[in-house]
Amino acid sequence: MGIENIYTQILTEHNNSSRNKHHIENPTAVLKGVNPSCGDEIELELREKDGVIEDAGFTGIGCAISQASASIMIDLIKGQTKEEALRLANLFFGMIKNEVTDESQLEDLDEAIALKDISHMPARVKCAVLGWHTLENAIHGERNPEKS
């Protein structure tokens, strides 16, 4: 493992671009995801129609890895059904946990494969999965709590 493998061009680009980092129109789901051990926070917005994720975006602050991972995720899930999005999330978790290593199986993750080596950096795993966990929870119906 080396820093070189992690901070690839793809990550650097996604981290520095704001392509998916913005609010979306008429979101049907808004959910905050927090990584308490480090203070990373993202807020994921989804607009779903007839079971398909029409649009998605995120806001918040975090490291290059959590930001790039969320951004890459949004590229992947836009236009997909909820089921497909969940399948990709599971595939991603499998890759990060080093449980799925077969390259051909991982193909569907496309650019997200750049995050594969995170599996050797336990401290950063939480960063890489933050967006994906938030997605999973949002699809399962979790919403931000009402302000009290």
Partner: protein, 407 residues
């Protein structure tokens, strides 16, 4: 070169061909061999349940445990051994005060004053007390240099019943004016809970001279093993307080429905105590005394100056709090690199063998006040060297490059 290297085996080892540059001393320090060996030796030849047995081995264990208490008492200049309570860490020490003093001696409308820079362990217990008793938390805000202006200290007033304050901030390294705070608090009739977790590894703490009512710290931040901490409390206060944890060893007598409690310090030490930990703490105190606070302060001040000077020369690096070394400044440096998240800074430095922390440092109220989500933190100890700082600075210079950002 580094005179302490032989005492700290971990600082000599190489990982992935790189020597460890350990700059996370505010989180926990490394342990000298003398401490590791003292614990080892205790278990090999003197291990027994203290206070319980009448046989020689148990008497020896009891003696070692009580000698450790006396060593702590002397080190912090407490008047009596019974004012020194062993806990598991500073957090438990502070919880003990909150549960036993806070819940029983505070009432609705009372104010608890504390700097916004306090560690969560010196914030959450007071939130609990405030919630339970209808008391109010009043925060004091530091200026740009990390100092508490007089106007903020003026918040310690007639309604204040307790002031919770760190001797040294674990984020900004500021040394707070404890003597002045105590003067104001006592004038207001409030007690002062000093969190000296970050001072005692680096500065002498004289509870008598400071005249604080309580003082809490952890062994593991001052060369001792994990799992042992200390609460100092004035005898008079501790005597008035009810027990916190109950169980074996802290009783006078127990009937089915009731119990009376042992005198100090046993009253607050329920169950089998960590003798090995206490013995390790005493060994750490011995080691610290051998080196001497003078040497520690001088070494750290030099390293801090050197590091701050070097960092000032790296573009896009912001240091929080006071940016110069000095008497009111301890060797804790919080900083950020423009455009790079602290986690990434930490991962990149780690690839050069440099261990720093990144995150909120258990001080989220301060992060919110500073308007940042997280910072990087490099924290020094006497066993660090200029070479350590050079490696740290060199690595820090490269950070933005890794993320495709310019100079």
């Amino acid at each position: 070169m580094n005179p302490y290297l032989n005492d700290f085996p971990i600082l000599k080892e190489e990982h992935n061909g790189k020597r460890l540059v350990y700059l996370d001393n505010a989180a926990t320090t490394q342990k000298p061999l003398s401490v590791i060996r003292a614990v080892d030796e205790y278990y090999r030849s003197s291990n027994a349940n203290p206070h319980r047995g009448l046989y020689e081995l148990s008497i020896r264990a009891t003696q070692m445990y009580e000698d450790s208490r006396a060593a702590v008492r002397e080190f912090i200049h407490a008047e009596k051994d019974c004012e020194v309570l062993f806990t598991r860490n500073a957090s438990e020490s502070l919880n003990l005060v909150a549960y036993s003093y806070g819940l029983n001696f505070m009432k609705e409308g009372d104010e608890i004053a504390l700097p916004v820079s306090e560690h969560h362990s010196n914030v959450l217990p007071w939130q609990m007390v405030a919630r339970a008793k209808g008391a109010k938390l009043v925060f004091l805000y530091p200026d740009k240099n990390g100092r508490l202006p007089q106007a903020e200290l003026d918040k310690i007033g007639p309604k204040t019943k307790l002031v919770a304050v760190a001797h040294v901030s674990n984020v900004l390294g500021t040394v707070y004016p404890v003597e002045e705070i105590v003067r104001r608090a006592h004038k207001a009739g409030a007690v002062v809970v000093l969190d000296c977790a970050q001072s005692i590894p680096h500065y002498p703490v004289d509870v008598k001279k400071l005249d604080v009512d309580f003082a809490a710290f952890s062994g593991h931040k001052m060369l001792a093993p994990m799992g042992v901490g200390v609460l100092y409390g004035k005898e008079e206060l501790l005597n008035q307080m009810p027990p916190f944890l109950t169980g074996g060893e802290m009783i006078e007598s127990v009937s089915e429905q009731d119990a009376t409690f042992a005198p100090l310090p046993q009253k607050f030490e329920a169950g089998t105590q960590n003798v090995g930990g206490a013995v390790g703490l005493a060994a750490a105190i011995d080691y610290l005394k051998q080196i001497g606070y003078d040497t520690i302060i001088k070494t750290e001040e030099e390293l801090l100056s050197y590091a701050l000077d070097g960092m000032a020369k790296i573009p896009h690096v912001t240091v929080y709090g006071d940016t110069r070394a000095g008497e009111q400044r301890c060797g804790v440096i919080s900083f950020n690199v423009d455009g790079v998240h602290p986690h990434d800074v930490s991962s990149i430095l780690d690839s050069d063998g440099v261990a720093i922390r990144a995150g909120h440092h258990c001080a989220q109220p301060l992060m919110q006040y500073l308007g940042v989500n997280a910072t990087c933190r490099a924290s020094l100890y006497f066993y660090n060297t200029k070479e350590d700082i050079d490696i740290f600075l060199a690595s820090l210079k490269k950070v933005r490059g890794w993320l495709g950002l310019g100079d």
